[in-house]
């Protein structure tokens, strides 16, 4: 299946009026000094869903979100949120959207409670209610004990939770989360997922970005994959996976040194390359038919490559990504260069 076909998967709502959508964007463009960070993205987010935007470092996720949140000027194209034009009514948009950015945006000089109080009061919540909401949110996010300590002493996870709490004070109907779980430990990450699902149960719509393929898979009702500022595919996680191949053979080699040999063999048997996972000695092989797994295994056995574990599963979004963009997510590599800057 080609990329263009994929792009239509699970498409937008057939002929819905855009006012029925939580987010409707057409041809969004943002240019930074000649570099098109966001290069013509269309996006439709339906009310009540969790929409995931998946892409590697530098794909343009943050830039896109910031344009939709009125934090960056839209260079070309247009966007509507619940039917209100973003460029024309920034003040209205700011009342409808709660933004949790990629980096915590809370005040280092204030305590957690003071932060929530300040943001509440700024948005016209009266004093007693602002106090009550602050206490409620601190409880809900497990921050009661740290409530009256300055943020400077907070861990990354605590900051992230406070940041999300600060976006929920007025209970906005649409919530933007930019990489909500990056840098969180697995347990905190799971809690964050539950919180996000809880928001949707309350009637909110969530637009989140992530670099984690399993996060999009677990959390999102629909996913848009973006790369170099362009949308390369859109659909439910299942649709995307099915599109890439019916199943995937996951191999863990006993000896990581034999990876090149194994790659060679897979290429010979199937005519396509397997995806190397960052874990030493692990290969993911996309299969059109599950039967082909046997051919691969027999060829490996014949060549004397020993395997310590085997499974056949639906392909991961990693493979989806490879199939869609023709290159790997390159997460580790890109992170390295970011840090060197």
């Amino acid at each position: 299946m080609t990329i263009t076909e994929l792009g239509r998967l699970g498409g937008g709502p057939p002929s819905d009026r855009s006012t029925d959508l939580a987010v409707h964007a057409e041809g969004l463009v943002k240019t930074f000094g000649g570099h098109r960070a966001v290069d013509g993205i269309d996006l439709d987010v339906r009310p009540g869903e969790i929409f995931g935007v998946l892409g590697p470092n530098g794909a343009g996720k943050t830039t896109m979100l910031r344009m939709l949140a009125t934090l960056l000027k839209i260079d070309a194209g247009r966007a509507e949120i619940f039917g209100a034009d973003v460029a024309a009514n920034p003040h209205v948009i700011r009342q409808l959207v709660g933004v949790t950015g990629q980096y915590a945006s809370v005040d280092e000089n204030l305590t957690a409670r003071e932060n929530l109080w300040l943001f509440g009061r700024l948005q016209g919540v009266d004093a007693p209610r602002a106090r009550r909401i602050a206490t409620e949110l601190l409880g809900q996010f497990g921050l009661e004990e740290a409530a009256d300590r300055p943020i400077a002493q907070f861990s990354g996870g605590m900051r992230r939770r406070l940041d999300l709490a600060a976006s929920l004070i007025t209970r906005p109907p649409l919530i933007f989360l930019d990489e909500p779980t990056t840098g969180l430990d697995p347990r905190t990450r799971g809690q964050m997922w539950d919180t996000i699902r809880g928001l949707v149960a309350d009637g909110c719509t969530v637009l989140l970005t992530t670099q984690y393929l399993d996060e999009a898979d677990q959390l999102a009702d629909r996913v848009a994959v973006i790369d170099h500022g362009r949308k390369v595919a859109e659909g439910t996680p299942d649709e995307l996976k099915t599109a890439v191949g019916n199943s995937a053979l996951q191999l863990l080699l006993a000896n990581p040194d034999e990876v090149p040999t194994a790659v060679e063999i897979v290429r010979r048997v199937l005519g396509s390359d397997p995806v190397l996972s960052p874990e030493q000695g692990r290969l993911n092989v996309a299969l059109d038919q599950a039967d082909l797994a046997a051919d691969v295994l027999i060829a490996l056995r014949t060549a004397g490559v020993s395997i310590s574990s085997v499974s056949v599963a639906k392909p991961s979004l990693d493979e989806v990504f490879l199939a869609l963009t023709g290159h790997k997510t390159d997460r580790n590599h890109e992170t390295g260069t970011e840090e060197n800057r």
Binding site: A22, P47, A69, T70, L71, L72, K73, F82, G83, A84, N89, H91, V92, R94, Q95, L96, V97, V99, G101, Y103, A104, S105, V106, D107, E108, N109, L110, E114, L118, F119, R121, L122, Q123, G124, P150, A166, R171, P172, P173, L174, R197, G198, V200, A201, D202, G203, C204, T205, D221
Partner: protein, 278 residues
């Protein structure tokens, strides 16, 4: 997926929220938001008291230094230089205090919390004006210390308490107005250091090319021309008249007019360039 939670709270209904959304910020809301921002700035000051060192030290040091350096040369002796000098120091300390506005704003703007301020439905001017309201405290401290130090050194203002208070008030108003220039610099410069550099370049001619420390008559013509239109000169003359003879001269009006002009130009410029930062 999301079946496990029965919402304990009222469901969020997007349509209602869209209908209830306001189109613009009212003047009352703007004032309330500015005061909240001032509250934040005051909290910040209280937790970083080292910010007050320059405000407190400068009037004390400068008063002593200038009196002994220039006193003899300009007025013959220190005692007779004080009535000339103290209002000059007053203008200078207030100006240095307001210079810090730009640098601090810039540092503040680079912090994550400004991202949130930008994403909230609040008046764009509130995050800029709030800290300036809190700065009124700093001007008051600086101005009071200047006169306090003068009194210690033997300055006996002829205008009495009323005259001195009026001079302090005028200095605070002027400082607050001129602070908009530095706020604007804070919003256009690339870094806090750049703000510092540009602010210095604005500050030095304003204070030293004024009649703050040297009588205009001693200056060459071209310099005297600038000194005469410099708003700081008007402030200094007005403050001298107020503090030394309780005289509300036309200079007060000129000073206030200069303040209004500065605000009218630089407040909108600041807001515009702050908005462009997004």
């Amino acid at each position: 997926m999301s079946t496990m939670i029965t919402p304990a709270r009222e469901t969020v209904r997007a349509a209602d929220r869209v209908a209830a959304a306001r189109r613009r910020v009212s003047l009352r809301e703007t004032l309330g938001q500015t005061l909240m921002m001032a509250w934040r700035a005051l909290k910040k000051m209280r937790r970083n008291p080292e910010q007050f060192f320059d405000v407190a030290l400068q009037p004390i040091l400068f008063t002593a230094m200038f009196a002994f350096i220039f006193g003899g040369a300009i007025a013959g002796d220190v005692q007779s230089y004080l009535p000339l000098m103290i209002p000059g120091i007053l203008a200078q300390t207030v100006l240095t205090t307001c210079m810090a506005t730009g640098t601090q704003l810039r540092e503040d703007m680079e912090k994550g919390v400004f991202d949130r301020f930008k994403s909230l439905p609040i008046a764009r001017i509130a995050p800029l004006a709030g800290p300036m309201v809190a700065d009124l405290l700093r001007y008051t401290i600086a101005a009071t210390l200047t006169f306090g130090m003068g009194l210690v050194m033997g300055y006996r203002p002829g205008g009495g308490a009323g005259g001195v208070l009026a001079a302090i008030l005028l200095a605070i108003i002027t400082g607050w107005s001129l602070a908009w220039v530095f706020t604007w610099v804070g919003t256009i410069a690339r870094s806090a250091q750049a703000v510092q550099g540009i602010s210095m370049m604005i500050m030095f001619p304003l204070t030293f090319l004024s009649n703050a420390f040297v009588p205009i008559e001693t200056l060459p013509g071209w310099l005297a021309a600038f000194v005469r239109i410099n708003p700081v000169s008007h402030l200094v003359t007005a403050a001298r008249d107020l503090a030394n003879s309780a005289l509300v001269s036309g200079e007060v009006a000129w000073t206030l007019l200069a303040c209004v002009i500065v605000i009218a130009i630089f407040a909108p410029l600041s807001v515009r360039s702050y908005k462009r930062h997004m």
